[in-house]
Symmetry: C2
Subunit: 238 residues, 2 copies
């Protein structure tokens, strides 16, 4: 509480998100198989960390719930470190109680192990299976909760990007989807640059989209947040 108060005092005194609390997830999750092995993905966390830095710069109090990455927390941002999807959900639910915006940028593992072995599993058979169960959908859990903040999702697809993004926008009742095509290796996961398309519904329920051409992730992050601020002002005006 003291730390929150200090962070609040140090917050920028202007910017479109002044007085708002924005919660952002970033990085991969790691789903343990046994004490030494895990399932994960190639997310570097760079996009989520760029969003946290820009949200802070634009006036917000920022909580960054981060899976394992090699990145330093942006200045003035409160970081909460987690490993698995279940740990991330728990940390997010604690953080969003007073949040105005939730941005789900982490590459959360869709599945975790049905059972986690307490001892290192000995190799034996030539073939084996890992039994997986679905992880909680953190974004959908937050977006469909009472007093949900305004929610933004990311779609990292290798095909039919627009189709999946629109489906995700409707199904999860999100304010905005930022979609990119990770099959282009010059952008995305480990790159410092990105190119995205934003999708949202206007006041008449019409799907709108805006292309953000290839740029540094810090620029893409700012463009996403500026579009979000515009959505917020329209919502307030209507």
């Amino acid at each position: 509480a003291l730390r929150d108060a200090v962070v609040e005092l140090l917050a920028p005194q202007q910017g479109p998100f002044r007085g708002q609390h924005i919660v952002i997830t970033a990085g991969p999750t790691r789903e343990p198989i046994d004490p030494v092995r895990y399932l994960s993905n190639h997310s570097s966390g760079k996009m989520g960390y760029a969003l946290a830095a820009q949200a802070r710069r634009l006036g917000a109090r920022v909580t960054l719930v981060s899976g394992p990455t090699q990145l330093a927390a942006p200045e003035g941002v409160q970081r909460v470190d987690v490993e698995s999807a279940e740990e991330m959900l728990e940390a997010v639910q604690a953080a969003v109680t007073d949040a105005d915006v939730f941005i789900a940028c982490a590459a959360v593992a869709d599945y975790r192990l049905a059972t986690v072995a307490e001892q290192k599993i000995k190799k034996s058979a030539d073939r084996t299976q890992l039994e997986l169960v679905r992880n909680p959908d953190i974004l959908a859990t937050v977006a469909t909760s009472d007093n949900a903040p305004l929610c933004i999702g990311f779609a990292a697809e290798t095909q039919e990007v627009a189709h999946y993004a629109e489906d995700k926008l409707k199904r999860k009742k999100l304010a905005m989807i930022a979609a990119n095509d990770v099959s282009d290796s010059s952008i995305g996961f480990n790159s410092d640059a990105n190119a995205m398309t934003l999708f949202w519904h206007d006041a008449q329920g019409q799907l709108q989209q805006k292309d953000l051409p290839r740029a540094a992730k810090s620029h893409i992050a700012e463009a996403i947040l500026r579009q979000l601020a515009q959505l917020q002002s329209h919502t307030r005006a209507s």
Copy 2:
């Protein structure tokens, strides 16, 4: 070839391994599931990198075949970067053709995916399985090949360390096994310190063991290599 010649020229002119080529594997492997997901483990690569640095210091020409780590290659060591176990085997087989010693320190994934998806797998079912097949045993492949170098293996177990180590020593026809207990979190995977027990057979076929008490990984690495040099001199003498 030019690079090898330069490295050779820069090699220390003394030490027990002068004139020898030592090949060392380090770090985890990553087994791809699809373009974004993978199976891996918590190996930091620190022990293998420490062995490479010390082997170099003790006079050897060193090839370090490394899975993905955050570490810089020790000076004077030739590093070959790989991701999967199959890539590691290929790089090791290319490197050991003229090797005197092979030290298998990497935490190689025991299994890989039976099939790797070319596109990101869509989540759908509540439960699913990953079908796994055994990876090649890099150490056994090298140890049982014609003109095999002297081979050293590592055993990272969470229980019955000595039992598994001795079994591995016999089954894979190794010169030495270095065993540690990764269930003690103050040593091992991400730590800078380690404690190990070395196992080998003396000229009479009797199992010998030597405890290396908790110390910096650089010290443990040197102790392992000194014991190896002693084994080599006994072998030459007999």
